[in-house]
Assembly symmetry: C2
């Protein structure tokens, strides 16, 4: 563990994974500049959760960037399409990339994080992607993170001036139970995080979608009580 | 020259270069989905120019995405800093990356173009960057474009499903005079395009900034009358 007062940009969605990622960056001594991108997702409850997490973590700064991916459409999270229920891989006739994939989402999120890093002088960008208990999105894989890091180094003033930018994905190889346990170890108030793709108007989780499935299973396997309010 | 009715995404800023790029994509038979990103630049006149170019080129669709890079600051184009006058390289004590560089701008623009390409089924993304008569931005160089293309192929559903995404920068190795001549050859109404970093309230160009300098020189060297309205 290093202790520095270096700035780092942390992408903060309000979900479990990004909250634990933010706590890890803080534990490593970084001065956290949190960035939330509101991309027109159905659930504003996610943005509210990001705000609560940022407050609870006492980040140095929290910026919300609003964009409109609904202008393009093409995902159950941003268009008027139903959110599918979780299906185990063996029961899924067409595995591939699921409907809940938001086109180029993590590329866009990391691009904004890169701009923020340029301005704050941060060399480190944290993102809570995970390639174990996840939905099979192409932009959650190690190959994507490595490639973005290479891009970041040629794309920026920092790169030209010799500052080495790093994209850190500390949860990449953890399963959801391990992420829950990391959150508990770090004292993250997991109750303020939000994971569901399809919450109701009161913000209650659906208990049906991929994201609810992985979250529930993670808590169960970790042996930790799940503080999530489910509607069923 | 190929003739297809394949969709392509074209980044359209309203400037000379992106207008010529758009005309090249059209000439190659692509059905153009134009994308303008309004990143809070000082000059709304640029957005108005993009609209005029899109209309004149009869693109299939024109989407404007509004983002707020001013939330991050750090560039003369998005913060309250003066736009510097052009200085030839030999008179410039600190060449490096100029103040008008907008942090991670082209990474952000291409990320949005990538999302749009995913949704429209386009395999080709056109961007009017140029590494000859330009201001020395890191994200205008061939190495940046090549690296983004590699990223696009691992970042997306298209990549996973075997569709090969290409980032096309057809002006990369042309000088400004050659770009002007391409515009004339393709019948682009160059008078509707806007290049200046620091226009006045009537939209008149400053004739001082890097962008005005390269534009003026381009027209002069091409032997084409410059339709730009300068305030001096």
């Amino acid at each position: 563990m290093t202790t520095t007062s270096q700035p780092a940009v942390v992408l903060l969605s309000g979900g479990l994974d990004s909250a634990v990622t933010c706590a890890l960056a803080t534990e490593q001594g970084f001065r956290v500049h949190a960035l939330t991108v509101d991309y027109g997702q159905r659930h504003d409850v996610e943005i509210a959760a990001a705000r609560r997490v940022a407050l609870a973590m006492r980040v140095a700064r929290h910026v919300t960037q609003r964009i409109d991916l609904r202008a393009f459409g093409g995902s159950a999270l941003t268009a008027d399409l139903p959110v599918p229920a979780y299906r185990p891989a063996e029961a899924n006739p067409a595995p591939g990339v699921p409907m809940t994939y938001v086109p180029a989402r993590n590329t866009i999120l990391l691009s904004f994080a890169l701009a923020f890093a340029e301005v704050t002088g941060a060399s480190d960008i944290f993102i809570g992607v995970n390639a174990v208990d996840y939905s099979g999105y192409p932009d959650c894989r190690p190959a994507f993170i490595e490639q973005f890091e290479r891009l970041a180094r040629v794309a920026t003033r920092a790169g030209v001036e010799g500052r080495v930018l790093c994209i850190r994905a500390p949860l990449m190889h953890l399963n959801k139970a391990q992420i829950v346990l990391e959150g508990v170890r770090l004292g993250v108030d997991l109750g303020v995080t939000h994971s569901c793709y399809d919450p109701d108007e009161q913000g209650r989780a659906c208990a049906r979608c991929d994201s609810c499935h992985y979250r529930r299973e993670g808590f169960r396997q970790a042996g930790i009580a799940d503080p999530t309010v489910y509607r069923s």
